[in-house]
């Protein structure tokens, strides 16, 4: 059984937004609903300054707070590690939005469901790459099977220095970030 994960080399990101809209097209989302976002930071003062961009999306945590607070079991975790929402069970209470420390949930006002990145669950099982990965000119994201010792993501994880977002929250994210 695959265990899907992602490695994000945020230092390569130049903020073009292709990941956002490729995802929107893939899932046919309306313009205002996005499953990933970029966080912009300026570090330093002119002229010695850095502009840092960090892509953020659902971290597909192994200990997902959104799942724990869901009163109906609408949020569930597949055995391959992907966290999904069963729309049929969702009552739109938004507890998951509050519980997620990454702000990864976005309310789809049309459907009244707090939506989020799906790790392209239907497609990756067929061996496809999520479009946020495949469309990126800077190759910011690497997606793959954390159980497969030969996967590109595992090789990169073995060689590089990585960190995770908010490790102190104990969420055990499935997304790793390359240290700048």
């Amino acid at each position: 059984m695959a265990k899907y994960g992602m490695l994000i080399d945020a230092g390569r990101c130049t903020g073009c937004g292709a990941c956002r809209i490729a995802c929107q097209m893939q899932w046919q989302l309306p313009p205002e609903i996005a499953y990933n976002r970029l966080e912009h930071r300026e570090k330093g003062t002119y002229p010695k300054v850095k502009w840092e961009i960090t892509p953020v999306q659902c971290q597909h945590c192994d200990n997902p707070p959104c799942l724990h607070v869901c009163p109906t079991g609408a949020t569930y975790k597949r055995s391959d590690g992907i966290v999904l929402i069963d729309h049929k069970k969702c009552i739109g209470c938004k507890y998951c939005m509050v519980a997620c420390p990454y702000g990864a949930r976005t309310l789809d006002h049309e459907k009244m469901v707090p939506e989020k990145c799906r790790f392209c669950a239907d497609y990756v099982v067929q061996g496809q790459q999520p479009p946020c990965v495949s469309t990126c000119m800077n190759e910011v994201r690497v997606f793959g099977d954390l159980e497969d010792p030969n996967s590109k993501i595992n090789k990169l994880l073995a060689t590089g220095s990585v960190y995770q977002l908010l490790p102190e929250r104990g969420t055990q994210p499935r997304i790793y970030y390359v240290k700048r």
């Binding site: 937004g17 205002e32 850095k50 502009w51 459907k111 495949s134 000119m137």
Partner: protein
């Protein structure tokens, strides 16, 4: 073949409830409902999100466009697309397209008419104008140059020399200079370079996905990337160093780089001796341009200039100064000299025609359909004066001077204006001035959407089919990035037109019938395409299936030499010419020499207004795209950037509303207070300031630099000098 799962797709559609009566391809929810069982067709075509024409596969389901992905072979995309590529594909279902031919019946009023009525009325008016005022009174303006092959037939038929492109607002200095100095245009071999200097060129803003990928590949290999720009542009995020420069002074920076290369004998003496003419003239004119001199002008420390020159020379010939695009080449009074100095730096590095330096574009000679041509008609001088004896003798006649057209209408010299895929009211200087075009006897716009030019000036609007709804003739895949092997690709028709729109060729055929020119348009785009690829030994069917085909390498490294062993560039001497004879003959300096910007900010509240391409917009053309504008909304993309120290002095805080004013306009905008900008300037993205009420997504959002910019003509290349404008900024909106 991928299938949507019932869980994800049907639920999405069901949860939304109401589904209207629109056809399935127009309604996203209905599409999702129907998507379950449909198979997917993947059609290769070329993107229209900007002018780079990246190869893409468009996925079609139930006759509806679903999504796009980059073509894996195509040199420019290599499997990847930027945001505007994805957004442009979605735009086929934009509700603000022009859906059928329109005739103006009032200041803000249009009525739908049939194509036949449009052709008849336009044809009659056009021939009356030609009879009474001559072909010279007719102008064809377009972004350029996709409509040229058909525009030329019309212009030849009526006897008009007036084909005009948008280049004056973009890169006209570069296209003027390079053929004269080098006989061709060369591009950086990013992938193999060891040192890349980008000045006023944001590879991560004006995007070729594979271009950016090549830069990062070079960096992984250890190449150095230095970005000089008043704004810490997106490319600078990847740079080893960002060096802010006072806007308008890049020429001084280049002249000082040359000074270091020459005085410290770091330049490629052998290359210059063999392949350059005019070196002495250049040096005599510029020997006082020391780094210390340049520091005062540019605000770049003299030691930094020395360091860059030395490091580049150490890495030469695998080092280059990026040859540029929009940034710098239509912006200043000294833009032409700046483009000349770019050639000089690269020649001093001896990098031309070398791997890791600069290389020519790979291309193949395409065939041409044998068809009757209109009888030769005497054409008068170009109405804009481009390339004619007089003040604009050195301006390329193939590009023209679009910003003069409203004035020429006002003076009664231009009576009919055709505008194809072009929006000078928003992308040219001074929109109120541009509106004068409406006073011509005939104004025909051929757009996709309700752009400002169509809404405010057109008498007739003839909507062109969207790029996914029409086929175009094959093209060589090249420009801005390098590749030894040529590629051929073409824009295929992916789906049937959603609305009552037509391709440009069909529009021209309809018009031709009314003016007796049918026999010169008696061909199909398929016939043209077949004739074009015939010499390559392929058929259109093969190209249709592949989308993009690559051929054996045509680019040879090494300086072009004649059979007699002499340099054989297409210049008078066959060498790189540091001094341009044509400029000299017209009273300009042959070699580049320092010219100050036309205007400078002086007072505490004055700034130079500069602009640039946001990574998810193609200047203004994408501004009515709901997906791309949603990105702007999310990231405060419409805000004007201001250096934090200047903001502090003016009491301005992040997010404050300010009033920006020039002699022409006074507009309100929110401010991003930032460390990422030179103190002398305000930066605004070029995407905003829509003022066509029918383009509802763009309407009234943000401001545009052209609001503040007076109509000007740079004398050598004819550019608009888009950053020669000083604005005052004050807090508040009253």
């Amino acid at each position: 073949m991928p299938k949507f799962s019932r869980r994800t797709f049907l639920k999405m559609a069901a949860a939304t409830g109401a589904i209207g009566s629109m056809p399935v391809y127009l309604n996203r929810n209905k599409f999702l409902e129907a998507a379950e069982e449909a198979s997917i067709e993947k059609v290769p075509t070329l993107c229209n999100g900007c002018s780079n024409m990246c190869g893409m596969f468009v996925h079609v389901k139930n006759g509806r466009v679903w999504k796009a992905e980059g073509h894996p072979i195509h040199l420019k995309s290599r499997g990847r697309l930027c945001a505007r590529g994805h957004g442009t594909v979605a735009d086929i279902y934009n509700p603000h397209r022009v859906t059928q031919p329109m005739k103006r019946v009032g200041e803000d009023r249009f009525e739908p008419i049939t194509w036949e009525q449009a052709y008849q009325e336009i044809g009659q008016k056009l021939m009356k104008i030609v009879d009474e005022h001559g072909g010279n009174s007719v102008v064809w303006m377009e972004h350029g140059t996709r409509g040229k092959q058909y525009a030329d037939i019309l212009l030849d038929y009526i006897g008009s020399p007036n084909y005009i492109t948008h280049y004056a607002t973009c890169f006209t200095s570069k296209t003027n200079v390079w053929p004269k100095m080098v006989g061709t245009t060369l591009y950086g071999d990013h992938e193999n370079a060891d040192y890349m200097l980008f000045v006023g060129r944001n590879f991560a803003g004006g995007i070729i996905p594979n271009g950016m990928n090549k830069v990062l590949k070079a960096k992984e290999r250890g190449a150095k990337l230095v970005v000089v720009d008043p704004r810490h542009c997106e490319l600078a995020i990847q740079a080893d160093e960002w060096i802010p420069i006072r806007p308008g002074t890049d020429l001084a920076f280049f002249l000082a780089l040359a000074h270091v290369l020459i005085t410290e004998k770091l330049y490629d003496v052998q290359f210059v001796r063999q392949y350059v003419s005019g070196f002495d003239e250049f040096w005599q004119a510029n020997k006082n341009c020391t780094p210390e001199w340049a520091e005062k002008i540019t605000s770049v420390p003299a030691d930094k200039i020395r360091e860059i020159a030395r490091e580049m020379a150490a890495k030469a010939p695998r080092a280059f100064l990026e040859t540029g695009y929009h940034g710098l080449n239509a912006h200043y009074q000294n833009s032409v000299q700046q483009a000349q100095a770019n050639v000089v730096i690269n020649a001093l590095l001896g990098n031309m025609f070398k791997v890791g330096g600069l290389l020519p574009a790979a291309s193949l000679e395409l065939g041409q359909l044998d068809k009757p041509v209109p009888p030769a008609k005497e054409k008068g001088p170009r109405v804009d004066g481009a390339g004619e004896e007089g003040p604009y003798a050195t301006v390329e006649p193939g590009r023209g001077i679009p910003q003069l057209v409203p004035k020429l209408v006002d003076e009664g010299k231009v009576k009919a204006v055709f505008i194809y895929h072009y929006n000078p009211l928003r992308t040219g200087p001074d929109p109120e001035y541009q509106k004068k075009m409406k006073d011509a006897e005939l104004v025909v716009s051929i757009p996709i959407d309700w752009n400002e030019t169509s809404y405010h000036t057109a008498h007739y609007i003839l909507p062109e089919s969207f790029f996914l709804e029409r086929m175009e003739t094959p093209v060589n895949v090249n420009g801005h990035i390098t590749h030894l092997s040529p590629q051929i690709a073409y824009r295929a028709k992916v789906v049937e037109p959603v609305h009552d729109t037509r391709s440009l060729l069909e529009i021209m055929q309809g018009l031709a019938k009314e003016i007796g020119a049918s026999k010169y348009f008696d061909f199909t785009v398929e016939e043209e395409a077949e004739a074009m690829v015939a010499p390559l030994g392929i058929t259109m069917e093969e190209l249709r299936q592949a989308g993009c085909l690559e051929f054996p390498a045509t680019v040879k490294t090494g300086f072009p030499m004649s059979a007699l062993g002499k340099p054989s560039l297409a210049t008078p001497s066959g060498k790189v010419e540091f001094s341009v004879g044509v400029y000299k003959a017209n009273g300009f300096s042959g070699v580049p020499r320092w010219i100050a910007p036309k205007v400078m900010p002086e007072k505490d509240n004055e700034f130079r207004l500069i602009h640039g391409k946001q990574p998810w917009h193609s200047h203004h053309i994408t501004s009515n795209n709901p997906y791309l504008m949603a990105i702007s909304e999310t990231y405060n993309g419409t805000w004007a950037w201001m250096n934090s120290q200047r903001a502090k002095q003016l009491g301005i805080k992040n997010g404050d509303k300010v009033t920006i004013a020039s002699d022409l306009a006074q507009k309100q905008v929110q401010v991003k207070v930032t460390e990422l900008l030179h103190p002398d300037c305000i930066w605004i993205p070029s995407a905003y300031g829509g003022f066509s009420p029918k383009a509802e997504v763009a309407y009234g959002v943000g401001v545009n630099y052209n609001d503040f910019l007076p109509m000007q003509v740079e004398p050598i290349a004819g550019s608009v000098m888009g950053q020669e404008v000083i604005v005052t900024v004050r807090k508040g909106v009253n």
